[in-house]
Structure formats: C-alpha cells, structure tokens
C-alpha cells in the first residue's frame, strides 16, 4: 500500500484524510508501517468504500492482518445502526459465513507423544474428510438439515457429537439466535447434504500444535495452557451451504440496493438496510449458516477426539474456545457514552470481548475472550485475550490470521508442494494432504509475519498475547 496518503495517528494506527463528502465516516487502519506497506492498495480503496455505506457508526476499520478481499477487505470491521438506515452487507460477511477456529486443549505433553505423531497424522488424515470433492459420512435430508440450521452445535451435541460441556465455550453458547432456515434456498441445503463434518480446502486446516511460548502467565492459567501442552485447532466454516447463501444473496442484495436507492461504490458491497424485508431475510439466512458452521466444527471436534483416542490411550480434548471470523452480529456497544445496538460486520476479523463482558464464559470472564490468530502451517498461531481497550478501539475486534502477503498464483510460481512438505518434515512438522497444489498455494512464505501481526494486534490495543502455538501435524484440505 502506498502509505504516503495516510496520516499516522499513533505507532499502531493510521487514517486517510478524505475530502468532504467522500465518505460518511473515517477510515482507521491498524498496524505499523511494515504491515501496511505489504498490503495491496486495494485494501485502502475497499475500506474507504465501506466508509461510504449508510448508517455507519464510528470508523470503518482494518485489522493488522488485512488484505485485499471482495467488497470488504479481509480484516475489515464496520458497525451499522439499524435506526439510522444502517445496512447489512453480504460482501461484508463473505461466502464462508462463520468460518472460524475451534481450539481444543489436551491433557497431553509433546514430550510424551512425539513417537505417536506419525500414527496420529495418518489417523487424522484418514478420518477427517478434507479437500475438494470430499464428503463426510453423515448425509442429512432437508428436514434434519433445518434442525442443524436452527440448533447449531447444540443440535450436534444432541445427536451425540461431542459433549454438552463444549457448548459453554462456543460463541453464542453454540447456537446463533435468529436463524430462519426457510430463508435458505433449496439449492444451498442440497449442497450441504454430504458436507457436514468436512474441513474443506484452501486455507482450512486441522493442526496438532504445541504450546511453545507463554506471553501472559495469568491468562494462560485461566485458559488452561502450559508450555509443552498439545493443542488442536480446526479452521473451517459453513461449507457449501454458506457458500450458496453468499451466492444467492450477493446478487439479490445488489439488485435490492439499486431498487432501494443505495449508491454502491462497489457492486460487491451488495447490501440492504437492516430494517427492510431484504435485510431481515439475509440476516435470517446468515444466522442459519452460522449455526451450520458451529455444528460443522462440533462434528469435526468429535471426529478429532475419536482419532486421538484410537492412537493415544487416555487422551482427552476439552474445548478451549470456538471463534468465528466471518460474521455480522447484533451487539450492544458504548458510543460516546451511550449504549447502542449495532450490527458489527467482521470479515476476516475476530470478536474480542474484554474482561467482564457477560458473553464471555464465566471461566474466562476475568481474563477476556480467547482470540485465535491462525498462522501458516510452517510458522505458528497465537492465542490472545480480548481487552477492555478493544471495545473503544474497534468495537471489540481483533485480527484473525497471519493474512496473505502474496497471491496464490505468485505462490505457485515460487514453491512446489512436495518440496514444502519435505522441508517442513525436516523441521518436525508433518503435513498430510491430497493437494500438493494447495500446499504450494498455502506456503508459509505466502503469508505475513504472524509474530508481527500478533504484536501489532496487542500494541494497537485490540487483544493481548497469551500463548504462541507451534504446528506439529497439519491436515490440509
């Protein structure tokens, strides 16, 4: 990004001076010079477009891991007031609605299971459906799928996938309120028939990780983390159903915006006012897709536990937390001393409620919500804690990943999948995949420096670092 147009607000945040009438609100970009310079100019263009949308409250923001997306940039955060004509945007949520990370905390130490890792990698790769064209064992008819869309992870627990104790540690206690399965097309439901309990492909993964470094001992204790401990992270979303809802509503909302007189600076920002039939219809479908994603990760957590149990006697995996990072949620936030109900879009951004927030599980309430920054398969990931400051800074939002630094096309020119798998194996990281092309596209070098993203997230006051996780086994789609 050409940062010559930007004005630095402090060491870790920037804005861009806009001409009168150019936008309804300010733009704020979090990160340092190095991170911003690696971003494409399109990030600035896209977030400036978001700042033009009706009913925006506070600045349109990008997180430190932001990169060029469609409509909103990935890492874009924007809050809208329904009583001031605020909008809901399908392009502000994305195709993979409620894509997120389920983090499982084990009772195992790396030192005790090093010899079992190859067997564990094989078992996980055989039992976790992953990659393009792969279906799960579970086949659901429309009536049962409607129950998934209504019940989320609670449906999965009721069907024997996982434990009721998991629900406490999933956002929304495992079920997003307000789903309307009837607003989801028959085609979307058909696409999901064989896709419950599947990982998908692209940047989705299942990783066995080790806690490599503790940054905040008190928060780590609250989260039940200690150095050398084995953790599992599962990154995936609402699969074909969410993709089809995104497809269906992107075009219908683009047409609705035109009909409702909303001038879209980019057609991909397809949106409708929240308080219109079109807006409410999308929200009902989106909430249903969120429940699909929560159920999907619950099933995958169950399959993961079963795989561990077959290989390692006495292994247990508790849910540490489950966070979504492609959402729009109605939340209450303080704005200039007043509490207001806002619809907060987080596209490639994680909710990061601080200490004391009533929606944070009681066990973590004094610490703040766990925030997970998923890194590349060769570097590592971070667990952070939401901070009180984040509420004022970014409507309680933080980074979600390392963020891509180069395109998939460029990555394919630079790396070969087989070579990467071999190099990572020499470093003690076992990659299991059916797509060597996918591995090359997801090469660690194609991502930003996750350490810098996590540091920027902390220094910008969005969330504070708790622990760094190093990958040991990665199942890629």
């Amino acid at each position: 990004m050409d940062i010559s147009r930007l004005k630095q607000l402090d060491d870790w945040s920037w804005t861009v001076p806009l001409a009168p009438g150019e936008a309804r609100s300010d733009v704020k970009l979090y990160g340092n010079r190095e991170l911003l310079e690696t971003m494409d100019n399109k990030v600035l263009e896209q977030i400036t477009n978001v700042a033009r949308l009706p009913g925006l409250v506070g600045p349109a923001m990008t997180m430190p891991d932001a990169h060029w997306g469609y409509g909103f940039p990935i890492g874009g955060v924007a809050a809208f007031d329904p009583d001031q004509g605020g909008i809901i945007s399908a392009g502000g949520v994305g195709f993979d609605i409620s894509c997120g990370i389920r983090c499982l905390r084990s009772n195992l130490e790396l030192s005790g299971i090093t010899g079992a890792l190859p067997s564990l990698a094989r078992e996980l790769s055989e039992k976790i459906p992953a990659g393009v064209g792969e279906e799960g064992d579970l086949k659901l008819g429309t009536a049962e799928l409607d129950k998934v869309l209504a019940g989320g992870a609670r449906w999965a627990v009721e069907r024997g996938y996982g434990e009721s104790a998991d629900l406490e540690f999933i956002e929304e206690r495992g079920r997003m309120a307000g789903p309307v399965p009837d607003n989801v097309s028959a085609l979307a439901k058909k696409r999901q028939r064989g896709e419950m309990g599947t990982l998908g492909s692209g940047n989705h993964y299942l990783e066995v990780q080790v806690v490599d470094r503790i940054h905040d001992a008190a928060a780590a204790r609250a989260y039940g983390l200690s150095e050398g401990q084995i953790i599992v992270s599962i990154h995936c979303g609402s699969r074909g159903l969410g993709h089809q809802i995104g497809t269906d509503y992107l075009v219908s909302l683009a047409k609705a915006a035109s009909r409702l007189g909303i001038a879209l600076p980019d057609r991909e920002l397809a949106c409708a006012p929240i308080n219109t039939p079109e807006g409410r219809q999308y929200i009902g479908a989106m909430n249903a897709a969120m429940n699909c994603a929560l159920a999907n990760r619950q099933i995958l957590a169950h399959l993961t536990r079963a795989a561990f149990a077959r290989i390692i006697r006495g292994a247990s995996l508790d849910t540490l937390f489950d966070v979504s990072h492609n959402t729009c949620k109605a939340e209450r936030h303080q704005v200039e001393g007043q509490e207001r109900l806002l619809y907060v879009h987080r596209k490639g951004a994680t909710r990061a409620f601080g200490p004391g927030h009533p929606d944070v599980p009681e066990r973590y309430r004094e610490t703040g919500q766990p925030v997970i920054i998923g890194g590349s398969m060769g570097t590592g990931s971070y667990i952070l804690a939401g901070s009180a400051e984040s509420e004022q800074r970014a409507f309680a939002s933080a980074s979600h990943g390392a963020g891509r630094a180069m395109s998939r096309h460029q990555a394919l020119k630079q790396w070969r999948g087989r070579q990467l798998v071999d190099e990572l194996a020499e470093k003690g990281i076992l990659i299991r995949t059916r797509s060597m092309r996918g591995v090359a596209e997801e090469a660690p070098g194609a991502y930003k420096d996750v350490d810098l993203v996590a540091e920027a997230t902390e220094r910008a006051g969005l969330a504070r670092r708790v622990a760094f996780l190093r990958p040991k086994v990665c199942i890629k789609g």
Partner: protein
Amino acid sequence: MNIPTDRSACPAALPASGDAYFEHDADVGIVGRGATLEEAFEAAARATFAIMTDIKAVRDESSVSLEFEEADAELALVRWLNLLLAMSHEEGLVFGRFWIERDGVRWRGGASGEAWRRELERGVEVKGATLTMLKVRQTDEGWEARCVVDV
C-alpha cells in the same frame, strides 16, 4: 493472444503466465476469452474448474443442463459460474466440458464430467464467483469475461 476455445487449451494448473488468471491477494481472478460471448463464458468456466482439478483428465460420463434469465451480461457470468459450482456439489460431479447459448435474456447451458475419483488431482475448492473485478467486454480479438472467484 492465446484464446482457450477448447479443453486442450485450458491449463491444468494456474500457469506462470497466460490468459486464464489474473492476480488477487486472497482469491483467484479468472479470465475467459473467446471469439463470441458464449465462448468467453465457456472459457471462464474452464478456468474456474481448472482451479479444482486437471480438467483434461476429467472423463465425460455425466452431464447436467441449466437455464436462467438475466439481462445483465456481467451478472449472467456470475450466475453461470455459480450455477455450475452449485450443480457440481449437488450432483457430486467435477466438470471438464462446458457449453452455453444465449437467446436474448435467456441463457441455456450445461456441463459434463464425472464423480470425483481418487486419481483426479485435487486443487483448491472454489466457493463461488464474486462481483469483484467483474467485467464482460468486447475486445479487438473477441470477447473477454472475468471476475474474482472465492477459494
């Protein structure tokens, strides 16, 4: 200009240089070119499915047909690609060959391919075609249809 008008002209993987793809940070930009608008749409479909597999290796065992109405050629491109992706998932098929015809606002098309089998190369799943960098235009050489697809 390399105009991919048949299956053999379509790349098995994203090429180092070529006409089928353009750069996008997180996703993939696809381009279809052809002598006619319909050929450009067919080439765009090949570029999309070549992200998921080596479409030259896909056998012609099953086919699907589709039709829709859309006056806006750009929205028609997105609709075409998304219907193909949806039908691919719905039928559990991967497609390698595509055809489409236009009659005013009415579009009729189809695709053929086979069920996923172990020997087929696995690339990256395409979630959907987006409106980003969406452009359908007539050029000196023919027609070009492009957009970003979410992977």
